[in-house]
């Protein structure tokens, strides 16, 4: 609105002043608009909360899984990979326990959640993440089932939920199909943390 007004005002006075002055005015005007737009964007980023700045649900292809897990395994952290889906009862039941353990073991533990939801349920998965107060990057399966299953583990039959834990050195310390209790998860995490002892 303001821009339109300024634009009309400029055209209104255009014939009254010489062209050099007008050119300078145009340059100043565009610069101001550019700066204003620029600062509006960065203000937006700074004001948004941590959850929105993090990509909560990143699409992941089967070929990328190994790399992603290795990335999380770097810096001497235990990695817990959990394959889940919003429609999977046991997955949803054990989910909060894993989130709690992530908060408890903070810098020692990386939790790699991978949703196996159908693509059309992406919004549902995203909402679930927000409801569970997940604040770190998680992933969503793309592509066919079989390459995905084998990329996660050749010992996995495809039943959900599935959990796999890596030690800080990248050794697989445990994996299982089926729901697990908080205690089972914690013991497995501690086992992975202490593997070198």
């Amino acid at each position: 609105m303001i821009i339109v007004w300024i634009w009309n005002a400029i055209f209104g006075i255009h014939h009254q002043f010489n062209s050099i002055f007008m050119k300078l005015l145009y340059i100043l005007l565009f610069s101001l608009i550019f700066i204003a737009c620029g600062s509006a964007n960065s203000d937006g980023d700074q004001n948004s909360n941590e959850t929105e700045a993090v990509e909560l649900l990143t699409d992941i292809a089967s070929e990328e899984i190994e790399t992603i897990i290795a990335k999380h395994n770097a810096d001497g952290k235990v990695v817990l990979v959990n394959i889940w889906a919003t429609w999977c009862g046991p997955c949803v039941e054990e989910f909060p326990d894993i989130v709690e353990l992530k908060h408890k073991y903070k810098d020692q533990l990386e939790v790699v959640f991978i949703s196996a939801d159908f693509p059309e349920d992406r919004e549902r998965a995203l909402q679930f993440m927000k409801d569970q107060k997940v604040t770190w990057e998680t992933y969503m399966k793309t592509g066919k089932d079989e390459p995905f299953i084998n990329a996660i583990s050749s010992d996995w039959s495809g039943a959900l939920p599935f959990t796999k834990i890596y030690s800080k050195e990248g050794q697989i310390t445990s994996y299982w199909e089926n729901k697990a209790s908080f205690e089972t998860f914690e013991t497995a995490i501690l086992e992975a943390l202490n593997v070198n002892l």
Partner: protein, 208 residues
Amino acid sequence: MKKTISIIAFALVAFVTFAALVQDPANIKDELELGKKAPLTTVKMLDVSGKKMSLEDAKGPNGLLVVFSSNTCPWVLAWEDRYLTIAELAKEKGIGMIAINSNEASRGKEDSYAEMQKHAKEKGYTFPYVVDENHVLADEYGATKTPHIYLFDNNNTLVYRGAIDDSARDLSKIENRYLADAITAMVAGQKIKTTTSKALGCTIKRVE
């Protein structure tokens, strides 16, 4: 001293739990291997029709198709349209088809006999749907999820195991109709191109 005992105790517990976690639970076998004979074929199970029947009863002249299934798993629901087309193909080829519900842990709720009857009727099942009490068959077959497919030839030998095809929900994305191809090849005496496949599904709800 107290601290040492605690550490040793913890280490012991951790070791035992770790060992238990990476091994299969005692009574659930590994998935039945190709070439093996169908186990427990004479065990009578309650069908939704009210009759008691075994795999032997369901078997056709050219083979047997066993489908571990459930009433609510979204993966089952996604493939259920193909349950019916596969049933037609199986019938045409002289293969007996039977669906089995092994979800004992939800037998009091969504996988009850009454719910199974309702489900079979709603979906228009043209094949038996039986109760696998205490998941005895699922354990013996090493079935881990629903759906989980086992195809046997006329000698009760396992020739195909795994998924119906490679796209549960999106029919336009199907590239491999594993089960249909296996049935056709088996009956024609030809080699089955893909003998095992994997797909996602819901864990079978076993009791502790």
